[in-house]
């Protein structure tokens, strides 16, 4: 099957593979030890999947804000995003 119309680049391919791996890992984690709903610093009760979603959505906005508000390299923004994701997953 010819997929050249999707004009893949190594960066976007890596991004989607990363997301896919994350989802697979979350599924395995869920099977091994099911999630317990809890309340952290976020104002709502969340499961592990909820926190991943909030973390990823927040990361996207952090990256956009970084691009929109600063002129520095995007990698710093990505760094902040990862820190945010870890924070939400652990203490959210």
């Amino acid at each position: 099957m010819d997929m050249s119309w999707m004009v893949w680049t190594p960066v976007t391919a890596g991004f989607f593979i990363f997301i896919a791996i994350m989802l697979v890992c979350m599924t395995i984690w869920q099977v091994v030890s099911p999630t317990i709903e809890r309340k952290g610093f976020l104002p709502i009760v969340t499961t592990r999947g909820d926190r991943l979603f909030i973390g990823l959505l927040g990361s996207a906005y952090i990256c956009l804000a970084w691009l929109g508000l600063t002129d520095k390299e995007l990698w710093y923004g990505v760094g902040i995003s990862v820190a945010w994701l870890v924070t939400v997953m652990r203490w959210g």
Binding site: M6, V7, L57, L67
Partner: protein, 292 residues
């Protein structure tokens, strides 16, 4: 009741997953790919990284369109939801010929396609021959002209949307009200509850589910509004009714800048995602708070 925990049931959603992958996920991935490249033609593309995102985020015309869009969606929700709930409350509670007649009459605007609604309103509000335009200009001596005044054209689109879509809220609200058992009203009567208390503690909480759907539908629809302003003034006068989707269409189809258009589509998608998530979470959690 003991629920079955058989994970093989997940295979039953496989067909849905395949359809969604074909119709949504793969196209979305393509958009992501487009957004990081400068596509010059088939087989000719240059990787540009976050360039388009930067360009789009720094575009003042996009800021204007976004602000206009948010104001518009906010006004649509602020008018349509209370108005729709209000009308639903005034409809007869008992089923009968009268209730059915009201519902059919109210549902009529919903049957009209967007572009026809636009055309109807173009005629209706023309200052020289339209009923509303002439009434405002000749009888009330209000210089109404939607093709020249940005505010008038903006308000016309808003009124058009309210006219077109408030019936949806009415129908959903009415369905929610119909689902309330008579016993609740009897209990309220025994307790001597006021009309407002009945609304606040019985009707409104019972309508939460349908109102959530109404809110999400109306938000998403108004946030993607395209046809009505396009038919009315083509986004003008100036850019006063150029909302996000029209801006995007100009970028992608008019100028064929697929890279920036893709980057902007993703930002658009993220905004919709955030708003829907916030609305959904807020309303679901309000429900939990009252149930306790």
């Amino acid at each position: 009741m003991q629920k079955w925990a058989d994970n093989r049931a997940w295979f039953l959603i496989l067909p849905v997953f395949l359809v969604v992958a074909f119709s949504a996920i793969i196209p979305l991935m393509t958009v992501v790919n487009y957004s990081v490249q400068d596509i010059l033609g088939p087989g000719m593309s240059v990787f540009v990284g976050s360039e388009w995102y930067k360009e789009v985020l720094h575009n003042p015309r996009l800021h204007d369109a976004l602000f206009r869009q948010l104001t518009f969606s906010f006004c649509v929700l602020a008018i349509e939801i209370p108005l729709g709930v209000g009308v639903a409350l005034t409809l007869p509670r008992k089923k009968g010929v009268w209730a059915s007649t009201c519902l059919v009459l109210l549902a009529l605007p919903l049957l009209i396609p967007w572009n026809v609604v636009g055309t109807i309103w173009v005629m209706f509000s023309r200052p020289d021959i339209g009923l509303a335009g002439v009434t405002l200009n000749e009888i009330f001596h209000f210089p109404y002209n939607y093709t020249a005044d940005p505010l008038h054209s903006w308000l016309t689109v808003l009124v058009m949307d309210v006219w077109h879509w408030t019936p949806l809220i009415v129908l959903l609200g009415y369905a929610g009200l119909q689902a309330i058992p008579e016993a609740y009203y009897q209990a309220a009567k025994i307790d001597g509850a006021s009309r407002f208390a009945v609304f606040r503690y019985i009707q409104l909480p019972k309508m939460r589910g349908v109102l959530l759907i109404a809110l999400l539908l109306r938000f998403m629809d108004s946030f993607m509004i395209y046809t009505e302003p396009f038919v009315l003034t083509g986004g003008g006068p100036g850019n006063s009714t150029t909302f996000l989707s029209q801006f995007l269409t100009r970028l992608a189809v008019g100028q064929f800048d697929v890279g920036p258009a893709a980057a902007f589509s993703l930002i658009y998608f993220l905004i919709v995602l955030l708003f829907c998530f916030v609305f959904y979470t807020t309303i679901v959690n309000l429900g939990k708070g009252e149930a306790q």
